[in-house]
């Protein structure tokens, strides 16, 4: 497939898909909470743009509904919920310490190469115009998983989870021009409920452990003996300025 011979819309689809992949990397590199949420919203916006363009090019009407769902959930509702949560938990200005940031980015690149090799066999079978983007959607999924693996803050892990979900949605719309509408609606509703539940969980976690840093939950293990009983002072002493309140 010669890139120069593609129409403008098809070029735009590819460009927006590539930019969505870039936002996944930006989320990996972003240590601050608010920009992380905004980058997630930008990724949702780019995926919406791709879905709308695919709907225009292939004349699949139901993809517009899918695009609307993506826009409402991934650009408006979930980022707004996360924003409100982080303001109420007073962690919107927190910056996480990312261990080995460059190694993280390089391993992200390795994941992209891996997903290209996985998608290669699908690409050969498929005749769709968007078949090259399947690799990108798998990569967005895997990068979301990487974000969940490496981050210690619970909110960042939730963003990684949501990003994985975006990747699955995206894979559906570029590899099969969307799932059946009933499935999409069901998944979207699940995600909405999940994001509200996560919010409730955040408050419970903070109330019982005093922190949203999952790395600190290890202190609860019984191996620690006596000092494990009295958790809160340990937590408080582990706080550094600028850490979670």
């Amino acid at each position: 497939m010669e890139f120069a011979k593609l129409g403008l819309y098809n070029q735009a689809i590819i460009l927006f898909a590539a930019l969505a992949l870039l936002t996944s990397f930006l989320m990996l590199a972003q240590a601050r909470m608010l920009p992380l949420i905004f980058t997630f919203a930008w990724q949702g916006f780019l995926l919406t743009m791709v879905t709308v363009l695919v709907a225009m090019v292939t004349d699949h009407r139901d993809l517009y509904v899918s695009a609307l769902l993506t826009f409402v959930l991934k650009v408006v509702v979930i980022p707004w919920l996360l924003y409100r949560l982080s303001v109420r938990l007073q962690m919107q200005y927190n910056a996480e310490q990312i261990a080995h940031p460059t190694l993280l980015l390089i391993s992200g690149v390795v994941l992209v190469i891996f997903s290209y090799f996985v998608a290669k066999s699908i690409i050969h079978l498929s005749g769709l115009a968007t078949r090259n983007i399947i690799a990108v959607s798998i990569a967005i999924e895997l990068l979301g998983m990487l974000l969940m693996c490496v981050r210690k803050s619970a909110v960042a892990q939730v963003i990684g989870f949501m990003s994985m979900e975006s990747g699955i949605f995206f894979a559906a719309s570029v590899s099969a021009y969307g799932m059946p509408l009933i499935v999409e609606l069901g998944v979207a509703f699940d995600i909405l409920v999940a994001s509200i539940l996560f919010g409730v969980f955040f408050f419970h976690l903070r109330d019982s452990f005093g922190s949203l840093d999952v790395g600190q939950y290890n202190h609860l293990s019984e191996a620690n003996g006596a000092d494990a009983i009295d958790v809160r002072p340990v937590m408080a002493s582990a706080h550094t300025p600028g850490d979670h309140a």
Partner: protein, 319 residues
Amino acid sequence: MDSELSFWALAVVQTLTFIAAAPLLAGWVQRVKCHLQNRAAPAVWQPYRDLTKLFGKRLVVAHNASWLFRATPYIVFGAMLMACAVVPLVVVHVPTAAIADVIVLVGFFALARFFTALAGLDIGTAFGGMGASREMMVAALAEPAMLMVVFTFSMTAHTTNLSVTTAYILHQGLLLRPSFLFALLALAMVAVAETSRIPVDNPATHLELTMLHEAMILEYGGRHLALIEWASQIKLMIYAVLLINFSFPWGIASEPTLQALSLGVLVVAAKLTLVGVVLVVWETVMAKMRLFRVPQFLGFAFMLSVLGMLTHVMLEGGN
């Protein structure tokens, strides 16, 4: 034969223009920056005045300076001279570009940097050694990213020749290539690091703890300093022209007629003016990074350039 000769003459004139215009770009950047920061701005030709003053000064060299220290300014300036001879500025078809491709261009920069670092160590002052080690750290991280950017462009254009690459981009028209976008972003980040601008280095400071490039050339004066300053102005201009040629080369002359050439000069001047303004806005809104944040910055640039190459293979069908 006649047209071949005229292209060679054009290449020589273009190189001389390049060298002569480099302080003007630096002066323009300085002037806009002063305006943005509410300071009284010097004239645009202030760098020419500075260079003239430095060339007129008596040469003072430290007692323990070896031949290396004296030779370095000439090697650095010579490397930059060779580098700007292969970059198309006004005309696309530069015959000199066939002699040295873009990998050699990176090599010229490395040569200049190597000798500057050696000269910084040669005198034996603490600042020289510190500056040399810092510059080498930045260079070791910036160079792979720069080479990956170059490879991304040359995979699309099927050549590493700068003239042919520019002509290819000129010929294919405006395409929304994600690989070019990523490579250009990475090139801009590398350019910021290599030309010692904020946030990696501050060219206007002589503060010991934050100096990178300045620390190495602290011992230089007179015409040596003039040559080194001039060379770094040329380097800034080379990176600006590279960014222009790779992103938006339209307007550059493709045949040696007077009309095309004058249009080429006007367009490239307008674009360089714009690049200068963008650079100043970037430098004004950014704060200087801590030295130990620089690897992360350049690591991101490297990741972007690798991503550019990957999207070329994955999304653009390798063509």
